[in-house]
């Protein structure tokens, strides 16, 4: 019985993804009509042709999304790695205090941050730039990254770096040569999560980059232009979506092996 249940859940999980593909590879006359068939009879590259004609509208956003995602990952890890190392060494009460502080900043509505941040980004002269968007997105990414890294550093055995310090290494050397190396898998997880968050982020991108948008706002634009029309824009939105999710799904497969409970709960242990 439970095996059947699991198969049903799997089918429900896969069905929307399946829809994305049958619309993408379907023929206009079969897909864009009332009650389209669940099992399409025609395979077509129509939508891909339309998307290829619009290829310039995806190359720039793809570059922008990639650039922003790497910036977010580097910024949030750059400030979080050293801070998380310090926090992980603190006694329980102040450590909880720091984590609570990070959580409280996460509690705020994204839109509430977005309004003043966009004014700030404009004032810094970073409006319409990847760096401006990356800074804004880091406000959400940093607490998440710091939390995971505190957990990671807590699982790194401290006796190794302690004995290194006794052997005459400075604290900085012990951190750099011992703890940082040992925490590498957790750092990789945090990096990928920050990267994925930025890749997926919509609100800041929509507000801060109207001229050079990242991919999610472009897809949204095509979709909202296309609902109720014969095909064109929705087909393009569909193809762009397929391009957007394939690398991410592959990364998720890789990631979930490392996204384990001891990393997630470590900061609170």
């Amino acid at each position: 019985m439970w095996y059947t249940l699991l198969i049903i859940i799997t089918i429900i999980v896969l069905f929307p993804v399946y829809l994305l593909f049958i619309v993408g590879f379907g023929a206009t006359h079969e897909v864009f009509r009332n009650y389209p068939p669940i099992l399409p009879s025609v395979f077509s590259l129509q939508n891909w042709n339309v998307a290829a004609q619009n290829i310039n509208t995806i190359i720039a956003p793809l570059t922008m999304s990639t650039e922003t995602a790497f910036l977010v990952a580097f910024i949030s890890l750059g400030v979080s790695i050293p801070a998380a190392y310090t926090i992980s060494k603190l006694p329980t009460a102040p450590r909880y205090g720091f984590i609570l502080f990070l959580f409280v900043t996460q509690m705020l509505p994204e839109i509430q941050l977005a309004i003043p941040i966009s004014a700030l980004v404009i004032r810094l002269g970073l409006y319409q730039t990847a760096l401006g968007l990356a800074l804004a997105q880091s406000s959400i990414a940093i607490p998440m990254v710091a939390y995971i890294l505190v957990g990671t550093f807590r699982t790194v055995p401290s006796n190794l770096s302690q004995s290194a310090t006794i052997d005459g290494a400075s604290k900085l050397q012990a951190f750099y040569f011992m703890d940082l190396r040992l925490a590498l898998s957790g750092i990789a997880v945090a990096f990928i999560l920050a990267w994925l968050f930025s890749w997926d982020e919509f609100v800041f991108a929509q507000i801060l980059l109207s001229q050079n948008p990242t991919i999610p706002p472009v897809i949204y634009k095509y979709l909202s232009r296309g609902v109720g029309t014969a095909s064109g824009p929705i087909g393009v939105a569909d193809i762009f979506s397929i391009i957007l999710i394939i690398p991410v799904i592959l990364v998720t497969f890789f990631l979930q092996k490392y996204l384990r409970s001891d990393v997630l709960a470590g900061a609170l242990k």
Partner: protein
């Protein structure tokens, strides 16, 4: 001397203190300052005085009350839905059986699908007109209805559809956390319970659930806050009707009128109030239930 002790402490922990500075500086600039600024904006009236004018305005001219109710409704509905399905899936996946890692991997797919893209997928599923799309295809094919169902009107149906789409996208995160929790329960607890003759339900109630509580707390807190902030998915799937506080603040802000940032901040403050209220009630309830927060 206290001063000397402070200097010694500072010297001994110089590296640790320097390590904290970049994070604190950046969080101060891109989080704490904007928060303070946003609270200020929300109370700054169009006549440049501090007061509740923006709140009066948005409650009067925009349907903040409905958005408030809708937001509370979608949070309750979507969280319940995705918590139950996550718990069920985590329990199913916690056994050891052939193909376990295959199912585990496939079920994680929605986690990697961007929110906007999940909105598109469910548009294909739910769109009722002018082309009635795939969910209605199924319904007509199965003979449940001749014409299909309108999945985005009236607004409570739209909220239900949105909750389904949201649960699809977000249940893997909760499941992952719960699966971690299940894996942390020592098998010996179940063994001794089985020797004492406890059945599955008794084991679930007295071993599984108490051990899972901290993980449930963590998952529900993270997801609830994200859920209150629901924006992109709602915008893609149902547009601005029915509206929620996030999308309402967003559309108010992007009108780009002169005073819109202040009105939008006021709406965002209402959302912040709702989230704070939720957290207080949540802490009170979990204290009463004897859980540690």
């Amino acid at each position: 001397m206290a001063e000397g002790a402070a200097i010694r402490f500072f010297k001994r922990n110089l590296m640790e203190i320097i390590f904290l500075i970049p994070l604190l500086a950046l969080v101060g600039t891109i989080t704490l300052y904007p928060i303070a600024r946003s609270i200020y904006l929300a109370f700054l009236q169009s006549n440049n005085q501090i007061g509740l004018g923006n709140f009066q305005y948005v409650f009067h001219y925009q349907d903040v009350t409905t958005a408030l109710i809708n937001t509370a409704f979608i949070v309750a509905l979507a969280l319940t839905m995705q918590f139950l399905i996550s718990l069920l899936t985590a329990l199913l996946l916690n056994r050891s059986f052939f193909g376990r890692s295959f199912f585990r991997t496939v079920i994680m797919i929605p986690f990697g699908v961007a929110t906007v893209v999940s909105g598109i997928m469910f548009t294909f599923l739910f769109t009722p007109s002018p082309q009635s799309w795939y969910l209605n295809s199924i319904i007509v094919k199965l003979g449940i209805s001749n014409t299909g169902i309108n999945w985005i009107r009236p607004s409570w149906v739209a909220i239900l559809s949105l909750a389904i789409a949201d649960s699809w996208k977000n249940f893997p995160l909760i499941m992952l956390i719960l699966l971690g929790g299940l894996a942390s329960i020592p098998a010996s607890q179940y063994e001794s319970a089985a020797i004492d003759g406890a059945n599955f339900l008794q084991q679930f109630r007295h071993i599984t659930m108490p051990n899972l509580y901290p993980f449930i707390m963590m998952a529900v807190t993270i997801r609830a806050i994200q859920e209150f902030n629901i924006l992109a998915l709602a915008l893609v799937l149902v547009g601005s009707y029915p509206t929620f506080l996030g999308p309402l603040a967003y559309t108010t802000f992007t009108n780009y009128g002169i005073h819109d940032a202040n009105y939008a901040s006021a709406i965002a403050m209402v959302l912040l109030g709702l989230i704070s209220l939720f957290i207080l009630v949540y802490i009170a309830i979990s204290r009463r239930l004897g859980m540690e927060v």
